[in-house]
């Protein structure tokens, strides 16, 4: 049995390796991101030369100036790819990590923007990831913009969203048009079902392919060496996703 988390990690790995996207030589992974971290490890363990900087790694943390060093590296253009999520994400790839209702979150307060209002501009590409795919998360227009998906020409910006991966599907993002496009459907999902669960409008081909299944080789990497790498930082995640023999 393949866990959804394993499928999502493999889908993210395929996006990292997308030959049409700018090269990912140095990837940083921020707080509480076990599935993106697993995807990065998968790229590395498949043998691709990539440097991973995992902000929340306790032993052997790559930064000796804390998160300040991550932002300085990114400011210089030395981080090629970052992952961001959002309490809300809209059809123009705007992110809301702040909250809903009256500023700064009178109805629901999310934790806050973290570094999104900088990273989203300064990385050549960002992969958006949010497992919950529902109309309350994927909205037509975010209540507050913590980081905009697009910027005018007089604002320095290296890149924007490459794609949005959810628990139901993969969307690609067309920055020229400022629109998402349904790229692939995870097993058990239909185009109509995704449409109903999505609060923003997007483009869609007449035939939408399925998100490919993880290969046996990828599953072996995830459940073996990648689990071992992630155990210290994400013990609960590793136990839930990779140690399911008792539950299976």
């Amino acid at each position: 049995m393949i866990a959804l988390e394993e499928r999502l990690a493999v889908a993210l790995a395929e996006l990292i390796l997308d030959p049409a996207a700018p090269p990912a030589r140095h990837i940083a992974v921020g707080a509480a991101s076990p599935i993106p971290a697993a995807a990065c490890w998968l790229v590395a363990k498949r043998g691709h030369p990539v440097r991973l900087s995992l902000l929340h790694k306790r032993s052997g943390n790559p930064f000796t100036e804390g998160s300040r060093e991550l932002f300085d590296l990114t400011g210089q253009g030395r981080i090629d790819l970052f992952f961001l999520g959002g309490g809300q994400i809209d059809g123009q790839a705007n992110l809301n990590l702040l909250g809903t209702g009256a500023w700064p979150g009178g109805t629901v307060r999310f934790p806050g923007s973290f570094g999104s209002a900088f990273m989203y501009f300064m990385c050549p590409r960002t992969i958006l990831f949010r497992e919950e795919h529902s109309p309350r998360v994927l909205v037509d227009r975010v209540a507050h913009i913590s980081a905009p998906g697009l910027s005018p020409p007089d604002v320095f910006r290296r890149g924007t969203a490459q794609a949005l991966v959810t628990g139901r599907c993969v969307f690609s993002f067309d920055a020229e048009r400022g629109r998402f496009r349904l790229q692939s459907l995870h097993p058990g999902e239909t185009a109509a079902g995704v449409r109903a669960a999505t609060g923003f409008d997007y483009d869609e081909a007449t035939e939408v392919p399925g998100t490919p299944d993880p290969t046996e080789a990828d599953l072996a990497l995830l459940r073996g060496p990648i689990r071992a790498e992630m155990m210290e930082t994400y013990p609960a995640f590793c136990a839930r996703v990779f140690d399911r023999k008792a539950a299976a």
């Binding site: 060093e69 009178g106 209002a117 980081a147």
Partner: protein, 270 residues
Amino acid sequence: MITIEAMAASVPDGAMLALPPDNSLPSVALAKALVRRGVRNLRLLGVPVSGFATDLLIGAGCVAEVQSSAVSLGEAGFAPRFSAAIRAGSIVMRDATCPAIHAMLQAAEKGVPFMPLRGLIGSDILLHRPDWKIVQNPLSDVPDRIVLLPALSPDIAAFHAVMADRDGNVWLGRRRECATLAHASRRVLVTVERFFDGNLLEDERLAPGTISGTYVEAVALAERGAHPVALLDEYSFDAEYVATYARAAQTQAGFDDWCAREVFGRAVAA
């Protein structure tokens, strides 16, 4: 070297108190001592985000304002007393974004009035920060808007380190962003696990992870003073303790019981 209660007593009501987040040496021991002292109207600065100690201080009614890029308990979820205080409107929230906090402290460290930062333009955070200004890049011939952030000198910075020596030098290990915080702040209060016999700056291997006693006003001994947060390779994150807190603090009454037990050491009727 002073006691932690004396250290807490030296923090005046209304001070801007800068705290590092849960992955970078917060002094939870000092936060608990501040709750016991009954400090009021603190203006907390998350460097660059806020965690357990901030939620604790908010729950105990010690906080008037939070400036931070996020307030969260990490894997244990949203910070419950912070969220409740935002809903109730009982604290002022000044949202920032992580590198902006670092940049404001770096400006103070250098003694310059502001630091420019990319990004931010188009974020609603900027609309709510009248102290952050957009200017045309004066060195560019083409339209290029950029944000200027004012220097920020917190009244007090507090963190928990592994060790300090008798000269007030403090060893941070690789968490050297706390050095920038120390350089930028008017006063620096540090709790430590233990004292180091000798001078940290005379050891070539320890010196790069050390901040000079020049910046440090006082050091207090607090064993396991970061708990439940991890401290370098000394001890790991106590996820169960934080999860228990997160459940209890869903309500003010639950928080009060937790606080009586864990901060004041009182037996609480079951």
